[in-house]
């Protein structure tokens, strides 16, 4: 049924091209690591610390991923499907922790929860230490669970409510329906979101250094930044690529099992609203309490910087230019990444061949690499291969695509898997060419996934730092570079406004997509009456 014959060359060729571009960072690492003598390479690989780092890094990734699933799936379902009070506000704000750079978030946790911090000095109670593996796991979960939330939310919007309605009409309660009918259908999206979380943890630098957990990425940074020696860093980077492949194989086992079996056959009707009854308030309060930690606490710390700075008579720059540039490159990057992701998502959702799968997996290789490694690779290749693009906005957008393409692919592919292949077959029977099937059937039906993917990319670009610092046009400031340059040198008051604007800019696409969803939901409720 699903063979390569169903995907036109016009999709396969661009997919292969995009995948090839994604291999640039890995190729760079191989070239640089090859300059090491075999003896030195072996010495680095066999260092006792290396194995320990691998173990701890994988444990951290697994912990954060599981915690993110446990938190994100219920929040996604409650904010999408129930009559919980404050649903719209919680729906918007639950995705926002993603725009908080981990170094700012982790710093906020330390200055609020650390010994002698805000909480201890106000309440007199000393919370558990934010440092170490546990603290890093908590911080990374708080600031990366939205990867799962947004992909699952996109999938929920694409589910055919007919199955749930059938389950309910056969006498199953809402809980049984959720567990036995909805959750199994969410499996591909949970897997896609989890993959983004676990690979993000592999690449994170900000939270683990702030909270003192030595991971693999931190070791790579030390090599680069202290010894100015690229070769050992490149070898460690390649080892990280191997870890990534391990995670990718695992995800393929979990996420691919029965995908496609519960597909729908056309545009979705919005699902009905589940009444929570006496659970309304407890559920709202639980989600609210969680968001107090993930979003409100960092915001309070930032506002505290602002208040303290005003009291000390500091001057403030509103940073509106930086906000406009951030908005522009994030929106541009999101659009370009979504377009680049389309061919790969289409091909891998409609073709089970080895080449299609390999192409899709290739796109994830660079994603787990620390941003700075990818940025150096693009510096090296960019200035030689495309000197006219070097340090232009165009180059920056290319960097964003290489860095964040998997976020767009995951969401798009999930939404395409929700469309039954019988739909393609029906269109073909009615005389549509393979190309027409893609353009007139699949693309319109993957809109939910495209929006979810573009939103993820947007939110991640808003806080991106290493590639922006090295590859943006000289003098091109964004909110993230502003926040970084101020916090790095302890000018917290000057970091406050850009940090608040970061959250504001991040909430824009979420607000737009929420308004659209609410309108659909509203019309569904009207139709139901």
């Amino acid at each position: 049924m699903s063979t390569s014959r169903s995907v036109p060359l016009g999709v396969r060729l661009p997919a292969l091209l995009v995948a090839a571009a994604m291999l640039v960072p890995v190729g760079y690492l191989v070239a640089v690591a090859a300059t090491l003598t075999p003896g030195r390479a072996l010495e680095i690989l066999r260092a006792p610390a290396t194995l320990e780092l691998i173990g701890r890094t994988l444990a951290l990734a697994a912990t954060v991923t599981i915690a993110s699933i446990v938190i994100a799936v219920p929040i996604a379902w409650c904010t999408e499907r129930t009559d919980m009070p404050g649903r719209r506000l919680l729906s918007l704000s639950s995705a926002l922790p993603l725009v908080i750079p981990t170094y700012v978030g982790a710093f906020a946790l330390v200055s609020a929860l650390g010994p002698g911090g805000l909480v201890a000095s106000v309440t007199g109670w000393t919370p558990p230490s934010p440092y170490g593996f546990r603290g890093a796991a908590v911080a990374l979960t708080l600031f990366s669970y939205p990867y799962v939330l947004l992909t699952v939310r996109g999938a929920l919007r694409g589910l055919d409510p007919a199955l749930e309605e059938a389950s309910r009409s056969l006498g199953r309660g809402p809980v049984v329906t959720l567990l036995r009918v909805v959750l199994p259908q969410l499996r591909p999206s949970i897997a896609a979101g989890s993959l983004l979380v676990s690979l993000y943890v592999l690449s994170d630098f900000g939270a683990v250094t702030m909270l003192r957990t030595q991971t693999f990425t931190r070791a790579i940074f030390l090599q680069y930044r202290i010894a100015f020696d690229r070769a050992p860093a490149a070898l460690l980077g390649l080892l990280l690529v191997v870890l990534t492949v391990t995670v990718l194989v695992l995800e393929a086992r979990v996420g691919r099992g029965r995908s496609g079996t519960l597909a729908r056959s056309g545009p979705v009707r919005p699902a009905g609203v589940v009444t929570l009854g006496r659970w309304r308030w407890p559920v709202t309060l639980a989600i609210g309490a969680f968001l107090a930690l993930a979003l409100v606490l960092p915001m309070i710390v930032v506002v505290w910087w602002l208040v303290r700075g005003i009291a000390a008579g500091q001057a403030f720059d509103p940073a509106l230019g930086a906000a406009a540039r951030t908005l522009a490159v994030a929106a541009g990057g999101a659009v370009v990444a979504t377009i680049a992701a389309l061919p790969i998502a289409l091909w891998s959702a409609r073709d089970t061949s080895r080449l299609a799968r390999l192409t899709e997996r290739t796109a994830y290789l660079g994603y787990a690499l620390p941003g700075i490694v990818v940025a150096f690779a693009l510096v090296y290749v960019g200035i030689r291969a495309v000197p006219f693009l070097y340090q232009t906005v165009g180059m920056l957008l290319v960097a964003y695509v290489v860095l964040f393409l998997p976020q767009a692919i995951g969401a798009l592919r999930t939404s395409l898997l929700q469309v039954d292949t019988d739909v393609d077959a029906a269109a073909r029977t009615l005389g549509a060419s393979r190309w027409e099937v893609v353009m007139r059937v699949l693309l319109p039906l993957s809109r939910g996934g495209a929006v979810a993917g573009a939103t993820l990319v947007f939110l991640t670009i808003v806080k991106e730092l290493p590639a922006t610092l090295l590859l943006a046009p000289t003098g091109f400031e964004t909110l993230a570079t502003r926040v970084w340059s101020a916090t790095e040198e302890a000018f917290y008051a000057r970091a406050a406004l850009p940090a608040l604007l970061l959250v504001l800019v991040g909430s824009l696409p979420l607000a737009v997509s929420m308004v659209r969803q609410e309108r659909r939901r509203g019309s569904a409720t009207d139709a139901g009456r």
């Binding site: 940074f221 090599q223 020696d229 500091q314 908005l327 200035i383 610092l469 003098g475 091109f476 737009v512």
Partner: protein, 359 residues
Amino acid sequence: MTRSRPMRTVMLVVVGLVLAACGGGGADAPAPDAPSPDASAAPGAAVPDAAGPLVVYSGRNENLVASVFADFTALTGIPVEVRYGDTAELAIQILEEGTRSPADVYFGQDAGALGALEAQGRFAALPDDVLALVDPRYRSRDGRWTGVTGRSRNLVINTDLVDAVALPASVFGLVEPAWSGLVGWAPTNGSFQAFVTAMRLIEGEAATRAWLEGMLANGVVPYRNNTAIVEAIGRGEIAVGLTNNYYLPRFVAEDASFPAENVYLPGDVGGIVNVAGVGVLATSSRPAAAIALVRHLLSVEVQTAFGSRVDAAEFPLREGVDSTLLPALDSLGAPDLDLSQLEDLQGTLTLLEDVRAFE
């Protein structure tokens, strides 16, 4: 189809913003009026500078040095474009860019990074009269980079928890049990690395290893950077921190009741003076303008400003200029040290990994 209207508006705004972003660099950056290099070199004369703005890669923070570059442009009419970033990352970027690097000047805050670029042959020689402005201890032996300001290593203490007189006169005293769990350092930080490298040079490999192991056994607390150390001292999480001298004044500027003070360690390796310095790239197409900028950084006005701004508070390195906020540089009795040798960082990194200082 009322539904698509907000989407269409959003798309229009997005496209407009992208175009606007592509059009101009930064709002504060001077407009690149003449991007094409001026190829007409007068025969017989020295090759004149290429047209276009002078490009500076600055590992020094924008909040500290932006006004210095603006003053340079106002004085000379030479436009400057500055790429701000991390000192080490920008040095590696120049190494990765190779001979095509668009940078004319590198301004970094660590002698190690300057030394790494010098060792790779990326810097041109500076004129003798420029070098003569700075004490030879604070510039490259080969004359390819010069220090602009000095930053001393020192201790920051929480004044509620520790009395300055109770402190040891040397960092070697901090391995005593009395300081168990009370001291913080930033093992991944460039200045700390330079300090350890200096200790290896001055005190020897064995003594350095013994000190590191003693500190670790004494429960020294690792932080992400100097800023995080000072923040933790303010909260009382630790009592003593090994940092640079200029972080504390910024905390005090935002919070006058910040309970901490700087303690200098005259003559001790814990009080060495590192530099923030500048070099002109060998590949620069605007060497005359680049050297003019170096002269500007070493001018009496700029040097005086560095020594008297509360948020900068560094030691001026031009001979004859002293800071109004800091003790005189010579009074610190900093140990003699060849800053050019601070580039043996792989040895320091290996040692720190070996004693598990990053755990």
